[in-house]
């Protein structure tokens, strides 16, 4: 994770009236200017920067405090950890892509609602987006689990055998989408107001069709906004721990980067480098998040430029 420190204020400007004693004055200005930032700097420095540096150092730590690549080598050579990486990335990509396709349409439809409908939809989305963690896992087990009531209802009333195995990757996809899709919609909803009704009228005047409007005007304008939503949803899915842990427990073979990390931590005893491997996985997650953030900022810069152009 990157930390943005507030830009340093310019050189202290001593008011001319203060005149002769410059020393205490400049100290006071320094304090008044930097004072309010101290809690933030301490928190960010201690909780993020120092912790991140310590994690990076730990991931390279050898048995007697030296430097080694062993932990990194181990996480990439151990098959189930490598599988977990592929599974995590795949799962996040599937979830983010589903959100991109379905969520964008949903967001467009919601943006077209009347004010009251929009407020109601947003409230609902907010509730669903916050319904994550262990409680969601429990809800999923009691609805779609082996003896979940939705599954049983479908069987008893309609004779339909629900094929979904909740404890597989696809079960995770469904569970993630339940709370990440609303989040995606909330993220891209503001962008929908960028589309102006005049443009559709203009396309019609020029004899264009709906399809051409979306292909040439709508999607190109929206694309960076949707893409940034994809990147954030991807990173968000990748970092989930409590949902898969509560759903699958810690004996699972459907492991993800985060649950492998947890597993290494819960079993880290002396004489092994399991703790260092946990640190390496944490650093790996940090790197992926940082890359996602960089991508997001690049796209955001382009979005802003585009908005400027639209004015």
């Amino acid at each position: 994770m990157t930390v943005t420190t507030p830009t340093a204020p310019g050189p202290a400007v001593t008011p001319p009236a203060a005149g002769p004693p410059p020393r205490p004055g400049s100290l006071r200005t320094f304090l008044t200017q930097w004072g309010p930032a101290i809690p933030f700097l301490v928190t960010a420095g201690g909780l993020l920067v120092a912790a991140a540096l310590w994690l990076i150092r730990t991931s390279f730590a050898g048995p007697d405090g030296g430097w080694t690549l062993q932990a990194w080598q181990d996480i990439f050579t151990q098959r189930i950890t490598r599988d977990a990486m592929v599974r995590s990335l795949g799962l996040s990509a599937i979830v983010a892509t589903f959100c991109l396709v379905v969520g964008s349409v949903l967001a467009y439809l919601i943006s077209g609602l009347a004010r009251r409908g929009r407020a109601g939809a947003q409230a609902l989305l907010n509730v669903a987006a916050n319904f994550g963690g262990a409680s969601l896992a429990i809800a999923m087990v009691s609805t779609l689990g082996a003896v979940g009531f939705v599954r049983l209802l479908l069987e008893n009333w309609f004779g339909y055998q629900l094929g979904l195995d909740l404890y597989s990757v696809w079960g995770l996809v469904v569970t993630y989408i339940y709370f990440i899709l609303p989040l995606y919609v909330l993220l891209v909803l503001p962008a929908m107001s960028v589309l102006r009704p005049e443009w559709w009228e203009a396309v019609q005047t020029a004899g264009g069709t709906r399809w051409q409007y979306w292909r040439r005007v709508g999607l190109p304008v929206l694309f960076p906004f949707l893409l940034s939503g994809w990147v954030l949803t991807f990173a968000w899915s990748l970092g989930q721990f409590s949902v898969p842990y509560a759903l699958l427990g810690d004996t699972t073979t459907t492991s993800l980067i985060t649950t492998r990390l947890g597993n290494f931590l819960f079993s880290a005893t002396g004489g092994t480098n399991r703790f260092e491997r946990a640190a390496a996985l944490a650093v790996l997650l940090m790197v992926i998040s940082a890359l996602a953030l960089v991508a997001y900022r690049r796209i955001a810069a382009r979005m802003l430029a585009r908005l400027e152009g639209l004015r």
Partner: protein, 381 residues
Amino acid sequence: MDMTRHQRLSRRLVPAVLTAIALPLAACGGSGAGADADAAAPADVNAAKEQAKQFRTAGMPDDWINFGEFYQSVCDSYELGCNGFAAQGVNRTDTDMSSAEEIAAFKNETTNAPMCSDIGIAFGQVAESEGVLLGYTPEAAAALPPAYKAADGGWVASAVGVISIMTNTDVIPNPPKSFADLLKPEYKGRVSISNPVTSGTGQATVFSTAAALSKNKGEFDMDAAIDYWAEFFRLGQRNEAEYSAAAFERGETPIRVAYDFVNIQAGQLVGEKGVDTAIVIPAEGGVWSPSATMCNKKTEDPDLAKLVLDHTLSDEGQLVFARVGARPVRYVLGELEVPAELKTNWLPEGQYANVIQYPDDAWPDPAVVAERWENDVLTAG
């Protein structure tokens, strides 16, 4: 009223915060030599009385081998005037952790570190090599074999369990009776086990098969165990859902492999709700798998910790474990009679005919078990 509570809180909070800041500083300057020197000496009961006013344990919930009653029995036997039930939170507080986490807590926590913990027996040697143990051996430990106690004090076996199979017979009318049965197609995706990488129960599960499936009776064959579990995962027998008594009751996890005393308690719990269960020791047998109580070198309550270790092996303390179906370690070694009325919950003695005592001096290293599980078993699935 609110006001007084608030005042009381802050009166306690301020010194607590100050101590929290000061203690690590003091620890840097001081030396631990004094504590080590008298670690082997017998407990001072008067000091223990003071220490029993507020103490902390880890991984010793009231219902795990009856630790609530056990601690109450410590309080009563030595007339410490304390309350042993963590759920009531009067004198004892407990944080549930895995064995590895407990050792880490012993190692890393300095202020109000946990006094004693319950660990899977194989973690004893890990705690020893990490050097986190209180160097105290109760006198009664002399009768224990080497695999049941620390070489230089600090942990002793407490009560012994054997891995058993519990089945919700409302969901599965024909319950499995052996490890071989668990591989049958009819139980595919139904069998719930603990994780040998993190939990003592999971390790005991692997150890059980190592004893039960060895070619020569009485031996301990880890390769046979790993092969069996690899096959188990390859066939997809494992139930993916997270086990809980509630999940078992609903039939989400209809077959559970765990310690006999844990399954007996869970079976009673769901039995009261009208769910029928069957609990068996696998026909191939298993290994007596003790839980162990270990105590912390850095505890602020060393005298109480020594009393806990003493009481763990005393007749009275041992019989407390028996009450919930855990076999006291001294009973398994043939040194203690358990009255028949305490055995009413126990599974029939005949089922244990093939259960062996661990033949070697040191249990397999948990780290080695973890790596083999991850690299040879999980990859088979």
